[in-house]
Symmetry: C2
Subunit: 343 residues, 2 copies
DNA sequence: GACTGGCACCTGAGAACGACGAGTGCCGAA
DNA sequence: TTCGGCACTCGTCGTTCTCAGGTGCCAGTC
């Protein structure tokens, strides 16, 4: 008995099950794959694969379906790369190319990814903390209010209105503005916070309250966790493909999708590269029958955030991974090229 | 036969059906309502109500369920106002009160409305075109780029980056900025656009290209339809209550929810006040078994946008309408009080 | 020793069926 | 007009039966 053939059988089972959504038996397997042996031999291989936990029979007299472990093996060792078609590439490129701002890029990414994979797509907004300061503006408003605008290297704009105890002197504001800009532009957000903290002491004591107030707000904005938590979701109608049993297989997924914390953790696992979490590997009971494919996007040096898909475990992993990778690449390209200072 | 009693019967049928989700027969109706007559009499009334199209029997020997027309009658003439409990009011108030910016207000509104009604909640972001200019900032960036920031009376901040053909003179930018601010602050967005157009000619011809470029971008931002289209959705897990048949009753709803155009049209019908669309009244086949309850929010004088719920036709209309109205009131209050210039 | 064909066995899906019960429509009487 | 009574209708539920697809095992073959 050859180990190789047993793995071929596993691959064939995964492929067939993904295609048909039905347990695959030894006979029907041979109808779709030329393995050069008889059904009985396949049955032997299947029995061993079942012993090893790669596949399982839903009941005595049905075919086999892959287990989480089986999919894992398939993804890690058996899947062949399935490149996107030229049409798909062009579709991504032209659709994302039409975006007018960061918000738009994210919305379009979600849409295109959901359509490509026919799954639920999730895209995290570009992280604030992982980007650097492009510009900061300090604008006095009416009363004793000041508007702060922070523009980051990823093109995001955050604004805050600060209520001061007194209307600040115009010269002070101008001075403060230029010093803030000088200290922070080009810095990563955490570093910028440090620089700002140091800066406070360089001001005359009578100006400290105003300066402190403004700097504090900026620092909060830099480390604003809520901003990092924003996520766009699309393609929820594709949940239809998850299964017919709403309460058991779809409702928990919808609940998980509404729970940003869960999504962020799932996406967070993909900081270093393409990540595939299969079934219970996701760590959430509600997602026990779903897989999450995620990958970071951004420039080569710096990831901005993460995007991916949520689908039933029985998905076409090679295609899904190819789509996620492609969208990630284009989004990263657009965000870094388009909204980056020209040379 | 009294007309009054027949309407009482219709009301009882709607209330019972909403409560039990099951067709209601003449006998079980009397178990829950004291109508002072016998089942046979009720049957007579039911027969007439069925002739008139207010109720229908799913099959010969089942009870009756209300038709869209029956719900319509119920909402228009039979429903008694069902005020929110004090606890519910306080929950809305405290939860929405914790919001830190407009984005946050909208997110929290969706959440609280979905929880209160146990339906899908949709909240349109405050409209740009319906609000006025609070402040505009013009910030030169590196190269020949300029950042424009627009703050509206509803607290929204829009930003655009303009690519100019040449780096503008610093004095010109300052002049332009103060003139833009002078011309637009306090104006409604459409009027602000007009004022800006007039302003172009007051600049020296050599400055026209820069000015025109910037003003054009601002005008586009003012009339940006895409901004008006943003909608937050929540409580999709409540779709579970819509019915067990996913493909027929839930998938089309999910699809409609992803189609912003549909949602906007539904919300748009509520410009003048509380609007209830029942079943096919929504005008979308996919929403044939759902009802949309929507109402505008904003100040007394000026609606900012619309919010509401999407649920199966068999919902508790009085409670739903009360919840939608309450959330609308609080959201409107917060947005107009909190982010409006102090006196 | 690995593979194959044959065979007995298992089991879920689906059709057929009957009993049951909730509900109706109608009629004659109060 | 209302009411009680009665015959009738149909969908639901549980039971039974058949069927098809699938397995495991074993003896035989290359």
């Amino acid at each position: 008995m050859s180990d190789d053939r047993r793995l071929d059988v596993l691959r064939a089972i995964v492929e067939d099950y993904v295609a048909t959504q039905e347990p695959v038996g030894s006979r029907s397997l041979l109808e779709r794959h030329q393995l050069g042996v008889s059904p009985a031999t396949i049955r032997g291989d299947m029995a061993i694969l079942e012993d090893e936990g790669y596949i399982i029979a839903p009941h005595t007299s049905a075919g086999r379906i892959p287990t989480d472990k089986g999919y894992r093996m398939f993804v890690d060792r058996l899947a062949k790369v399935k490149p996107l078609s030229g049409a798909e590439r062009r579709a991504i490129e032209t659709f994302l190319g039409g975006a007018v701002d960061v918000e738009d890029v994210v919305q379009r990414s979600v849409k295109v990814l959901a359509q490509l994979t026919r799954q639920v797509a999730i895209v995290q907004y570009p992280s604030l903390t992982r980007s650097s300061v492009r510009h900061i503006e300090v604008v006095p408003l009416e009363s004793a209010r000041v508007l702060l605008v922070v523009i980051t290297s990823s093109g995001r704009v955050e604004q805050r209105i600060v209520e001061l105890t007194e209307t600040p002197d115009e010269k002070l504001v101008l001075d403060l503005r230029s010093r803030i800009v000088g200290a922070t532009v080009g810095e990563r957000l955490p570093e910028a916070s440090l620089k700002l903290a140091d800066m406070i002491e360089t001001f005359a004591p009578e100006h400290r309250p105003v300066v402190t107030s403004i700097v504090t707000t900026l620092t909060q904005t830099f480390s604003n966790e809520r901003s990092d938590e924003r996520i766009a979701i699309g393609g929820t109608a594709n949940l239809a493909r998850f299964g017919a049993d709403f309460d058991r297989s779809i409702k928990p997924v919808l609940e998980a999708l509404e729970e940003q914390v869960v999504l962020l953790k799932l996406l967070g696992e993909a900081t270093t590269g393409m990540s595939v979490s299969i079934g219970r590997e996701t760590g959430y009971e509600g997602l026990a029958t779903t897989s999450v494919v995620a990958t970071p996007y951004g420039s080569d040096e710096q990831a901005l955030a993460t995007l991916g898909t949520v689908g039933p475990t029985r998905i076409d992993y090679p295609s899904t991974m190819a789509s996620v990778a492609a969208v990630s690449r284009y989004v990263g390209g657009i965000l870094t090229e388009r909204w980056t200072p020209d040379p």
